[in-house]
């Protein structure tokens, strides 16, 4: 009985408390920088695509909304996706792709307003996904730290990478 009366009093006190409601279309709610919204593909600090088309995001995706195809660039040997397609009408914004990505290429943004009148418009191609910046990790460059040889960076020239060992010299 006492607890019931206390409940009535507590509820009454809420008359004078602030409302939690954010009147959304009139007023944007705050979405944290790490909010999981629309997916983007980011670029290296030097402006090249980060995505190396490893397919890990497509594998990690629980609803299979990511499709991509790997290809290699003739001039410098960098890997990149020939096409990269995300079907946002399937995407559940779980962020598994972002966690799976070894190159920080795929990232989720605080933008959640993804409504379209056509279902087809929900399928985003690479040109829709790619942005002109590095996203959340501005200094990270995958090719700068990776051990794979590309044009202009040989074995042992990556950041913190020891020069390759001449295994013939290791013979006793």
């Amino acid at each position: 009985m006492w607890s019931q009366l206390r409940t009535i009093w507590t509820v009454f006190q809420h008359t004078f408390m602030r409302n939690e409601t954010v009147e959304y279309p009139d007023e944007m709610p705050y979405a944290a920088p790490r909010y999981r919204g629309r997916i983007i593909l980011t670029r290296d600090p030097d402006g090249e695509e980060r995505c190396v088309a490893c397919n890990l995001c497509a594998v990690a995706c629980p609803v299979d909304c990511i499709a991509l195809q790997k290809t290699e660039r003739e001039e410098d040997g960098r890997w990149y996706p020939e096409f990269f397609r995300i079907n946002f009408s399937r995407c559940i914004m779980c962020g598994m792709c972002e966690e799976a990505c070894p190159t920080y290429a795929i990232q989720l943004t605080p933008d959640f307003e993804l409504c379209e009148f056509n279902r087809d418009s929900m399928v985003y191609e690479k040109e829709h996904l790619l942005i002109n910046g590095p996203g959340k990790y501005p200094d990270y460059s995958f090719w700068g730290v990776a051990g794979k040889t590309i044009e202009g960076k040989d074995k042992g020239e990556a950041l913190n990478e020891a020069p390759p060992t001449d295994h013939r010299s290791l013979l006793p």
């Binding site: 019931q4 409940t7 009535i8 509820v11 009454f12 008359t15 408390m17 939690e20 409601t21």
Partner: protein
């Protein structure tokens, strides 16, 4: 031909009560919103007042479905009984010193009779729907309302003993010296709880407990029939508040402990006091969980009924003692 001008009040009171019930739905939703730290309906018109109008338009234009498996005649009759009996009870309410439709010398009994009639509406609604949820709701309503009817009447007898009359106008006028809440606080508590149960508002809304019975006795109702049943519930809520004020809080009388209170017209005092109790009804809805059905029954029969009998006994004995 002598025209009794008080009959002119009938139309404004009937229309006013129905419109008030409609607006009350919106106001209740806003209140519940505030108490749950949200806003409630605030989109239609200023502060969302026109939500009531929008609801009315929606309910009028909705399909009015009659269940082919139900009992047509009673199914149609039931909402009319619910809303009609509650509207009839407004006849006896004194809104001001000369502002009442009729000053019957059996007004209290008339109110009890009308609130008992409303049980028929709810019961028939439940049974004629021929639906298991509706029947369970109807059964619950019948048992609950019969139970609470018993000591609703008994709790009022204390007031009647004090005033020496069944007429509500006489009861209000006899409260000039002291409101009956002071000698009759037990009666007030019992009457208030019984009124909650009679209007089957939360926390005593077991006949329509939506978590277990879908919508209880009005599961099959739609459109204006549903609206009439809801209107009956809100009318009952306002009626109970008005009666609590009339019987225990001095009706239209201005509170004497406030200086300058007599400059405010009596109708305003009546409205203000009634509004307080309407808000209390909504606050209880927002705060209190619904009891289990056996808890409701044992509260009624084992606590409130003996208490109201005891209250009647003590009040009667005391007034006899003071007279001799």
């Amino acid at each position: 031909m002598i025209v009794d001008w008080s009959y002119i009040l009938i139309l404004p009171v009937a229309v006013g009560a129905l419109v008030f019930a409609l607006v009350l739905v919106w106001w209740e939703r806003r209140l519940l919103g505030w108490w749950q730290d949200r806003l409630g309906p605030n989109r239609v018109g200023p502060f969302g007042v026109l939500q009531a109008l929008a609801d009315a338009v929606k309910l009028f234009t909705k399909e009015d479905w009659l269940p082919p498996f139900g009992d047509r005649a009673f199914f149609i009759m039931a909402p009319a009984i619910v809303a009609g009996s509650m509207l009839m009870a407004y006849v006896i309410i004194p809104f001001g010193p000369d502002l009442y439709i009729t000053d019957s010398n059996i007004a209290v009994l008339f109110f009890l009779a009308m609130s008992s009639l409303a049980v028929y509406g709810v019961l028939l609604a439940g049974l004629s729907s021929n639906n298991k949820y509706a029947m369970l709701g109807g059964l619950r309503a019948a048992a609950q309302m019969v139970t609470y009817e018993v000591f609703m009447g008994l709790s009022l007898m204390g007031v009647v003993i004090h005033a020496g009359s069944f007429s509500l106008v006489a009861i209000v006028e006899s409260q000039q010296g002291m409101w009956y809440i002071f000698p009759q606080c037990v009666g007030f508590l019992i009457f208030f709880l019984a009124g909650l149960a009679e209007s089957h508002r939360l926390p005593f809304d077991l006949p329509e407990a939506e978590h277990e019975l879908t919508a209880g006795f009005h599961t099959e109702y739609s459109g204006m029939k549903f609206a009439l049943i809801m209107a009956g519930e809100y009318l009952a809520m306002v009626l109970t508040s008005a009666l609590v004020v009339t019987l225990f809080f001095g009706g239209w009388l201005a509170p004497t402990f406030l200086p300058g209170a007599e400059y405010i017209p009596p109708v305003v005092w009546f409205g203000l006091k009634t509004a307080v109790f309407i808000h209390l009804f909504v606050l209880l809805r927002a705060a209190i969980p619904r009891p289990r059905y056996d808890q409701l029954m044992s509260l009624g029969w084992k606590i409130l009924l003996p208490l109201s009998l005891l209250n009647l006994l003590v009040t009667g004995a005391a007034s006899l003692w003071l007279e001799h």
